[in-house]
Each structure stands twice: as structure tokens, then as C-alpha cells.
Amino acid sequence: MKQYILIILFAIPGFIFAQDNSTQLWEKGNAFYTTGDFQQAISNYEQILAAGQESAKLYFNLGNAYYKAGNINKAILNFERAKVLDPNNENIDFNIKMANQFVVTSIEPLPLPFFLRWRTSVINMYSSDSWSYISLVSFIIFLILIGLFIFSRIVMVRRISFLTGLFILVFSGFAFSFAAKQKKKIVERNSAIVFCPRVTVKSAPAQTGTDLFLIYEGLKVQITDSVDTWKEIKLADGNQGWLQDSCIVKI
């Protein structure tokens, strides 16, 4: 117990120092961006990442800087990374749309059944952390309502608190699972951006595989499987195939 306290006591100043340094880099990066020195802005933002820190805002600004510096692939990559951390941000969506205008391959996404679409949009309303808090808070509300149910003498109050409590417990469970889903997205990172200017996608994880289709840089793909240095990818229109993992960068 004593040891833990010591560790925490020592860790706190270091953490605060790191925060300070990163904030400085952040402010400097923003200043460089404002004056139009995008390369300097990029290097400042990248230093924060190298120090092991991230945030949706950081990825967003980095993506902006890459976009302005003309590196569309990296811009898309960082915008998508920002979207993973902050899935329901209108600015990020807009910039992804703008950057995607430069992508050569245009893909008609497969239409999803409406309930899946709704589910995805509900899950993407909040980030993993937000869903965690929602789940926790609603669980505590549930406990309070159960307390009311047990101790209240008034029949009406008991009845209402019971039903509401049950509903909120279910809601808390859903929020928990959504938080888990969002977390999985962050941990697994099974999407990637194509960085090779032009790639032939093969039918098998070998050079001898039949050429299936051509894709161009900047495209977002789903990674579904992996063999050695080969990755099986799936496009939004349902096409699947294999390519070398040197050609893609995970989001």
C-alpha cells in the first residue's frame, strides 16, 4: 500500500511535466499552422504523438496540416484516426469528405440493413469513454431507484422506481457494450489507408495470385485476415482480396 502511494506521488509531477511540454508543442504547432508553415506544424504535432500522447483534436489538426502540405494520404489517415477517438464530430466528417475528393478510386458502399445502420449510428454517437461514463452513471441511477423501491412506503413510487430502474439497468448494459465496441475499434484498428500510389489486389496471399482489381492511394480498406506479410482487405463495396502490408497503414 505504501509503495503504491509512493509511486503515485513520484509519477504525478512527471506526468504533469509531460502534459506541460505537450501543451507547449500543441500551441506551437497551432501557431505554425496559422502562419502557414505546415511542415513545422506537422513536426510539432508528431512530437506529441512520439511522446505517447494522442487525442482526436491532435489527429484532426495533424490531418489538416498534412492536407495543407499536400500529403493527402497522411491527411486521410489522421482524420480517420481522429474519427476513431471522436466518432460523432461534424468537423472531422467534413474534412474526411474534402480529403476524399482527391482519392482516385470511387466506391459505392454496400447498402446496410436499416437496423444495422441505426445501430452503427447510435454506437458512433459517443466515444468509448463517453459510453463508459454513461453506463456508470446510469448504473448508479439504477441503484438509487432500487433503493427507492425497497424503502419507499408509497406504492406508486415503488412501482415507478421499479420499472424505471429495470429500464435503466438495461440501458446501462447497452452503454457498456457500446463502450466495449468502441474500445475494440481503438485496440484492434482493423481499418487501413492505402499508401501505394497504385496496387493490384490479388486473389491469394502470393505474387502468383490472380489479379482481382486495382486500387489507388488514399482509399480506406477493412483488414479481415493476415498471412505473413500479406493482408486480406475488404472494400466498402464488398470486394475482397490480398495485398502486401507494406502498401497500407493501419488507422
Binding site: S22, N30, Y33, E54, F94, N95, M98, S132, G147
Partner: protein
């Protein structure tokens, strides 16, 4: 009759127009002659003159063999009712060149009506004699009739139709040019003077691939002039004159082209009679040109305001109005003038404020093509309407062209105009539009959203609150806290419930005890203590039974408490009357002992009923 009249008329006009017509005195001679060859030097004058003086110094280089022989010609023309007439006087000399070289004949002079007029000067190139000095000139059929040289003709001779004597070539004014720089290309037919040309059979003029071309207008009739080429005299006819603008870089070659000519050749005499019938036959001669190459250099890296103009230009601009009201049309006129590829000059862009109504510029070319090149003006009219009041700047137009003479870009600029726009009268606008105009938001461009500022909200990479021990701990902690609270509360509640139960159970006993005390006071006849003990008995009982603290207990709260417990109204009324009697009797003089007994028994039965009904 009519004829005489016309003659008079003509004579009349001659007199009238004589003053109007300018005196022209010209000197003519072939441009190239051989040494020892005779040629004509002729002067023409459109008025009667006297005292003709030959160019000074002519005797040094030329022998004057004969002259002057004079001639006179009269011409009259009637064009669209306008009659013009001219009398021309000609003076002809026969000269012979003494030595090789190029000689300039200075102006000759003549006196007309007391005034001295000077002719033009000409240049004559004299080359070494190639043929016998007496060789007649064949193709140069002169206009003047009595020519000494012509009389010598008639000794026909067949000249070989080799490439030296008959050929065609494309003459380029320049061989090394910049892209877009103009070149004058002349297609010339060279004919040995001894070859009589009867006509053209088939003429394929060159196609200039890789060039933008503009033809120079030359007379339809091919005029032959004498020219020296390669130290030989030729009759040279200009077939076509074209201004070329190279459009590609590198070596551009004008491909060879063919043409056939009809040449008269004398048939060799076979008999005596042939000599009388000067028998000629016409031969078809096909000649082809040699390829001509032009080296085209690319112009250096052009600036943004380069409009494709190569040559020498100047620009001027003019604005129709500077103080206008809204919706007035304003015209900015830009005039580009100069020589060069003016037709290929792009329209410079005028960057007007974006809420102006801008129409497509109107472009008019006025270009003349002469043998010295293409020149003229290009007029661009920018028409626009300011929609809103305010002060605007019509920006300067930068016009950059490439000057091939010094190989640099030159930029000319128009002045910037200030435009003051006042609001037009409301009536006018209403009349024009009929309703209020609504402007849509104009999208001027698209860009990504700006970067986010403020707290970066940084977290360690990969960190999520979900799944951390703290997260689960909060669940467990809140559950634990809930359970803890639950048990504490329940225990307390149970204890509280026990106390109330005890007191409830005891209440009757205590009350009975008090009533018993009241009974002893009744026997002792202690009026005050008796009533007080009855009141106390009820107070304590109700306090315990209804769970109301003694301090808060009064008659109203007691009645309300009893009613809440569904005690019968009759019992409550009894209770109230007992309490009233007691309170009344406490401070009143002692009443009879029957009344006290009655009160006691009423209190006892009320309490008994209460006990039964509250329990229920």
C-alpha cells in the same frame, strides 16, 4: 452626237481633275543585269514635263546607248459613274552596264510647270556576264513597245530545264526564331531568263506544318522581276507570301512540294520550211523544292501574366464610367496593339469583386497582314454590372509578352480604376425586378475546416477509460456502497420499528396505569389532579400510538392522526368531548362526583374503543 458630247465631257474632266491629281514621277529599271547587257531605264510622269535630268553619276557605271525616246499614253476609266483619266508620258533610255557591282541610281529630276520634281531611287545589281552579251532577254516582255533588246529576239535557243535554270524555293526571313515569333515565308519561282514560261499546269503550294499561318495578299497575277541569286540573273515570280508563327519547338521542316510548268521549247529544225514556221512545242516541266528547316527555340519560363503574345505590343485601357449607380453596365475597354501573333493572344482575366455581374468579354480583332508581318489591334471589352453600392477597385491588368528582339519578357500594365457605386433609385429597381432580390450565399471556394484550438485533451495512446481497473472499481464500489447503505438503513429501520412497537404495546398499559391513578384521585376527591391525570393518560397514549412526539401533540394533530388510522368518528367525538370536559373542569369549580364518575367511565370506554380500532 453622243460621242462628241462624251469627248467634250472627258476633256472637261481632264482639266478639272488635273489640279486634283498629284504629280507622280517614277523611275523603273530591272533589278539585276549582266555586264554588257542592254536594258531599259524608263521614267513615267503623269503630266507634261520638260528638262529631264538623269540621275547624277549614272555615266560612271552605265553607258547610255540611246534615249530618251518618249511615249505618251492616255487612259480613262469609268467606275460606278466616276470617270478618271490619265495621260502618262514616258521617257526611255537604253543603258548598258559597264562593271560588276551594286549601284544605286539617285533620283532623277524633271520640271513640271516651273516646279522641279524628283523621282524615286533604285538599285541595280550588275553581275558577271553568263551568256553572250548579245543574249536577248526572253521572259521579260516589257510594256514599252519599241525596245531595242526585243528586236534582237528571234534567235531561239533551247535552254536545258535543269535545276539551275528552273527551280522553286521557299525563302524564310529568319532561320532561328523563338516559338511564336513571326517569319515571312515567300515561295519564289526562279526561271532562267532564256526559258519562256507558257503557264502553270499544277501548283501545289507548301503546307506549313507546325506553324500558324496568315497569308499575305499578293496580286493574283504572278509578276516576274529580275533578281540575282547565286550570282546569276533569274526571272523571279512570287507565288505566295505567308506569315508563319511556329507553334512547336525544335527543327521544323517545310516539306518539299512539286509544281509543273508549261515551257515552250523550239523544235529542232528538220527541214528548210521549218525555219519559216517558228515551230515551238510546249513541254511540261516538273520541279520540286528543297526542304527548308527553321530552328525554333522555346521561350523561357513564362510568368503568370504571360498571355501568349510574342512580338512587340502596347496596351491601353479605358473605362466607360467611374461614378455609377447599382445595376449600371460598365465597360472596360482594353486595346492591345502591336505586331506579332496578335490573333493568338489570350484574353487577360479581369479579377472583379465577386458580387459583380460579369459578362463574357467581347473580343474584336483588327489585323492586317503585310509582307513585313502581322500587326494590328485586339480590342477586349469587359462588361460588368455592380450590384451593390460601395467603393470598388477595378484591378490593373498585367499584360506580359515575349519580345523576341531582345529575348525577354516585357510587362505592360493598365491603371487601376476606382469605381464609386451609388444606390440606384428604389423605383427603378422595383420596376426592373418587380420584387426584392434575394442573394444566395455564393460559394467562393472550398476548404477544409480550420484546426481546433484550446485544450488538446491529450491522453496516453491507446488509453480508454473503459476496461481500466478504475472503471470496474466504480461499478463494484457503487454496488458496495449501495449494499452498505441498504443494510445500515434496514437495521436502523428495524430498530426504529421495535421501539415504536414497544411503545405501542406499552401505551395501553401506561394509559391504564394513569387512568388508575385518576381513579384514586377520584376517590380522594382531588378535582384538579383527577382531570390532569386523565388528560395525561390520553396524551401519552396517543403520542405512543400515533408516533407523534408529546411536544407536537395537540387536539388537531391528534384528531388528524386518529382519522388517518380509520378510527370511527363517534369515538373521535367522544375523545374530543372528554378532553374538552377535562380542560374545562380543571380550572372550574368542582362539579359533582357523579359527573366525575361518568367522565371516568367515558374516558375508559373511549380508550378501549380506540385501542381496538387503532390496532385494526
Amino acid at each position: 452626237m453622243i460621242r462628241t458630247f462624251t469627248t467634250y465631257l472627258i476633256l472637261f474632266f481632264t482639266v478639272v481633275s488635273a489640279n486634283a491629281v498629284q504629280t507622280r514621277f517614277t523611275m523603273e529599271a530591272p533589278g539585276a543585269v549582266e555586264v554588257g547587257q542592254q536594258f531599259r531605264l524608263s521614267f513615267t510622269l503623269n503630266e507634261q514635263g520638260s528638262n529631264l535630268k538623269l540621275p547624277p553619276g549614272i555615266e560612271n557605271n552605265f553607258d547610255i546607248l540611246m534615249g530618251p525616246s518618249t511615249s505618251q499614253s492616255f487612259s480613262s476609266s469609268n467606275i460606278n459613274g466616276k470617270i478618271t483619266q490619265e495621260t502618262t508620258f514616258g521617257y526611255t533610255y537604253i543603258l548598258r552596264a559597264k562593271q560588276e557591282g551594286t549601284f544605286e541610281l539617285r533620283p532623277a529630276s524633271i520640271e513640271v510647270g516651273g516646279k522641279i520634281f524628283e523621282s524615286n531611287s533604285i538599285k541595280i545589281q550588275v553581275v558577271k556576264a553568263q551568256s553572250k552579251p548579245a543574249q536577248p532577254q526572253a521572259g521579260a516582255g516589257g510594256s514599252g513597245g519599241n525596245n531595242a533588246a526585243e528586236q534582237q529576239q528571234g534567235k531561239p535557243q533551247n535552254v536545258e530545264l535543269g535545276s539551275d535554270n528552273l527551280f522553286v524555293r521557299v525563302e524564310m526571313s529568319k532561320q532561328n526564331v523563338f516559338k511564336g515569333e513571326q517569319i515571312v515565308a515567300t515561295v519564289k519561282l526562279y526561271v532562267n531568263p532564256n526559258i519562256p514560261i507558257a503557264g502553270f499546269d499544277q501548283v501545289n503550294l507548301p503546307t506549313y506544318e507546325g506553324f500558324y499561318t496568315q497569308d499575305v495578299e499578293i496580286p493574283q497575277q504572278v509578276n516576274f522581276t529580275r533578281e540575282v541569286y547565286d550570282n546569276k540573273i533569274y526571272q523571279v515570280g512570287v507565288l505566295k507570301k505567308t506569315i508563319l508563327f511556329p507553334q512547336q519547338n525544335g527543327k521544323l521542316t517545310v516539306a518539299p512540294f512539286d509544281m509543273s510548268l508549261l515551257v515552250q521549247q523550239q523544235v529542232k529544225q528538220r527541214s528548210f520550211f521549218d525555219d519559216f514556221f517558228n515551230s515551238f512545242r510546249t513541254v511540261k516541266a516538273t520541279i520540286s523544292s528543297k526542304p527548308v528547316t527553321v530552328n525554333v527555340r522555346d521561350i523561357p519560363n513564362p510568368p503568370a501574366s504571360f498571355m501568349g503574345g510574342v512580338g512587340n505590343f502596347n496596351i491601353t485601357s479605358d473605362i466607360s464610367a467611374q461614378d455609377v449607380t447599382t445595376n449600371d453596365a460598365v465597360t472596360l475597354k482594353l486595346t492591345i496593339s502591336g505586331s506579332g501573333n496578335i490573333r493568338l493572344v489570350n484574353t487577360p482575366k479581369l479579377d472583379l469583386p465577386s458580387d459583380f455581374e460579369v459578362y463574357d468579354p467581347k473580343v474584336t480583332d483588327n489585323v492586317s497582314v503585310t509582307s513585313s508581318g502581322v500587326s494590328g489591334t485586339k480590342t477586349i471589352e469587359y462588361l460588368f454590372q455592380p450590384r451593390f453600392e460601395g467603393d470598388y477597385a477595378v484591378p490593373a491588368i498585367q499584360f506580359t509578352y515575349f519580345n523576341p528582339a531582345n529575348g525577354t519578357y516585357e510587362t505592360k500594365s493598365t491603371p487601376e480604376y476606382q469605381l464609386r457605386v451609388k444606390k440606384g433609385s428604389g423605383d427603378q429597381t422595383a420596376k426592373v425586378t418587380g420584387s426584392l432580390r434575394k442573394e444566395d450565399v455564393q460559394l467562393l471556394g472550398q476548404d477544409i475546416r480550420y484546426i481546433q484550438q484550446g485544450d488538446p485533451e491529450l491522453e496516453p495512446i491507446g488509453y480508454t477509460f473503459f476496461g481500466t481497473p478504475l472503471f470496474y472499481l466504480l461499478y463494484a464500489g457503487s454496488t458496495f456502497a449501495f449494499l452498505l447503505l441498504f443494510f445500515i438503513y434496514r437495521k436502523k429501520a428495524r430498530e426504529n420499528a421495535n421501539i415504536a412497537l414497544m411503545r405501542n404495546k406499552k401505551a395501553n398499559k401506561v394509559a391504564r396505569k394513569r387512568l388508575k391513578a385518576a381513579a384514586t384521585f377520584l376517590k380522594q376527591n382531588n378535582n384538579e389532579a383527577f382531570h390532569e391525570s386523565i388528560l395525561k393518560a390520553f396524551e401519552g397514549y396517543l403520542s405512543d400510538k400515533l408516533g407523534i412526539p408529546v411536544a407536537d401533540l395537540n387536539r388537531e394533530s391528534a384528531v388528524a392522526g386518529l382519522q388517518k388510522r380509520n378510527v370511527e368518528q363517534a369515538v373521535i367525538d367522544d375523545f374530543v368531548s372528554v378532553v374538552e370536559q377535562c380542560e374545562f373542569a380543571r380550572y372550574a369549580p368542582a362539579s359533582g362526583s357523579e359527573a366525575r364518575n361518568e367522565l371516568y367511565s367515558k374516558a375508559e370506554t373511549t380508550m378501549g374503543l380506540m385501542e381496538k380500532q387503532i390496532k385494526r
